[in-house]
Amino acid sequence: MTATDTAPAAAPFRLSGRQIVPLLIMPILIVNAVSFIWPTLSLLRMSLNEPIAGGAIRETLTLQTYVSVMTDSFYLELVWNSVYLCSIITAFTLLLSYPIALFIHRADPKWKSLLTLMVISPLLVSAVVRTYGWVIILGDQGLINALLLGSGLVDQPVRLIFNNFGVMVGLVEILMPYMILSLMAGFGRLDPRLEEAAQSLGAKRLTTLYRVTIPLTAPGIALGCLLVFVLSISSFVTPKLLGGGRVFLLATEIYDQSIVLLNWPLAASLSMLVLVIFGAALVVYSRVVKALD
């Protein structure tokens, strides 16, 4: 008996479409429950415990950590700082990625895959290694400072790392491939004939860009921005290595609270806060996508 003999109709029992859907999504449901829902619930439970000075945890049900996060000006500043810095990073990533994505989209098909490969290739190197690369390039004795000092523009090395600027440079570089890929995925609707039509009707290049190209690629822009924003607000290694202890973000604070101060309940409530910010970003994204349609 060969495989071709077992036609669907001859099968001993047959699942209808309605039955097969839950069966097919079962694996991802299980994976999600074990790797996301269960840990999130544990995190929620941990955030309701009471931290005791010195690192011990008392199991109880209290909103104490949430109250301290909501009332302490440091944490409010931390949330604002995180959202603000990550928005700027998202904007810069978009600005730098858009032309590249557009270029690749319009490139000759035979070059397209090579160019795409070049965009993805940085992802083959760990973010930690790339971040250390930036420490070398932007450091006091690094390439940029050597150029600045050599050209006589400055007489002392400029501090380019261990501050907000360093974190921005590092994260923008690391997140650009994700933005470019999202943009390219959203460029499907961009028909070159529409741009040609606009130009033949007398639109200048900038007008074409604003009135035709950008509106048509807006879904890709929204998707890329969502992805980059979420990745940047949860990024930890790069701010830790390039921030020099001066840049306080939610992810680094969660690390300090859990690993250094052993305050797991507070770390857990900050993690729940990050989850809320993710949720807000998703709401904004879906609103934008709906408005675009």
């Binding site: 000075a53 010195g54 011990a56 004795q141 250094v260």
Partner: protein, 351 residues
């Protein structure tokens, strides 16, 4: 007849006891302690020595990135511990004791506990000091030709932008604040650290990074920075490994001790083997061997490390006089509050 039976019974009991003693000499024990250079050196000295003395007890080394990770592991395994012995920071050991994760100290089996210095024990902690370390000044020998002798060297304007300090909540930053408090004429740290925080604020604009990575030693060895603070043991060993490109100084004003404590895990399946290992780790020979290898000061009064090794620790009589008293459990109580002050009054001045 009755006497013979009794005798046989006694003999049988004695045999059983010797059997159980022999049983205790075999088995395995899992030690959770720091990874990296600590693991390398501890395996080469203490664990190698233990395996020689107790060839039938197998030691598994479970490397941990830091004390908090060890505590996290103990918490996660509370119902079925896989780790039998832990070495971690004393303030973390306090939290572990409070949560019932550590077994009580057993002076009858772990007899070497009776030979430790008084400072090796902390009230309410079911673990005893296994190493004493202390805060030191680190400097790049090419950038700074003459070894500094005082903590004040950190404030020298010549090193503007070339200073690395691991900031609070790291205990190096906390310890530095307590030392700065003393430098600025403050009294005991329990009376408040205003003077120390203010003095650290004066240092802030000169600091290159508050978060030297991967540790404070590498940037100074690689000449990315000129001066900074770190721990003596690691500093000494990295200084040797870097062929002297980094110098290590225990300043004349004294320093503060950091304590790593050893304890056995509550509910461990290998309790006997764990106690035998703990006893060996605290023995004079193991203590001396580890001091000679990694320059931690011994916690056993009877340990006699080579004088040239002892000279590179804070445990010399002259240095002991200058050391500042510090109770890490008291510090743990205000560590979070001090961290907040650091962020507002110290790090804010270095942006």
């Amino acid at each position: 007849m009755k006497t013979r039976l009794l005798l046989a019974g006694v003999a049988g009991l004695a045999m059983l006891q010797s059997l159980s003693a022999a049983y205790a000499q075999s088995g395995q024990v899992t030690l959770a302690a720091y990874d990296g250079i600590f693991q390398t050196e501890y395996m080469a000295t203490v664990i190698a020595g233990f395996q020689e003395a107790y060839p039938d007890i197998e030691v598994n080394y479970y490397p941990m990135a830091n004390s908090a990770a060890t505590l996290g592991t103990l918490r996660a395994q509370k119902s079925a511990p896989q780790v039998d012995v832990v070495i971690f920071d004393v303030s973390v050991a306090k939290a572990a004791t409070d949560e019932g994760l550590l077994a009580e100290l057993d002076r009858e089996t772990v007899t070497n506990l009776n030979d430790l210095y008084d400072t090796a024990f902390t009230e309410g902690v079911n673990a005893a000091a296994v190493t004493f370390d202390n805060l030191v000044l680190l400097y790049n020998t090419k950038a700074i030709a003459e070894a500094p002798t005082s903590w004040e060297a950190l404030w020298d304007p010549a090193y503007d932008g070339r200073v690395v300090i691991p900031a609070a909540p790291d205990i190096q930053g906390i310890a530095m604040t307590i030392i700065a408090n003393q430098l600025a004429g403050g009294t005991d740290y329990t009376d408040g650290l205003d003077a120390g925080v203010e003095k650290m604020g004066e240092l802030a604009p000169h600091v290159q990074t508050w978060e030297p990575t991967p540790d404070p030693y590498q940037p100074i060895m690689n000449a990315q920075a000129d001066i900074g603070i770190g721990w003596n043991a690691r500093g000494q060993i990295f200084s040797d490994q870097s062929n002297g490109s980094m110098g290590v100084v225990i300043p004349t004003e004294g320093s503060v001790f950091q304590i790593n404590a050893i304890g056995t895990v509550a509910g461990s399946a290998n309790e006997e083997a764990a106690k035998i290992f703990m006893n060996y780790a605290l023995s004079p020979e193991a203590q001396a061997a580890f001091t000679e290898r990694m320059f931690y000061a011994p916690t056993n009064e009877k340990a006699q490390p080579a004088p040239e090794a002892l000279e590179r620790t804070a445990a010399t009589p002259e240095r002991m006089e200058t050391m500042l008293d510090i109770n890490w459990l008291e510090v743990a109580q205000f560590r979070e509050a001090l961290t907040e002050r650091w962020r507002r009054e110290v790090i804010a001045l270095s942006r």
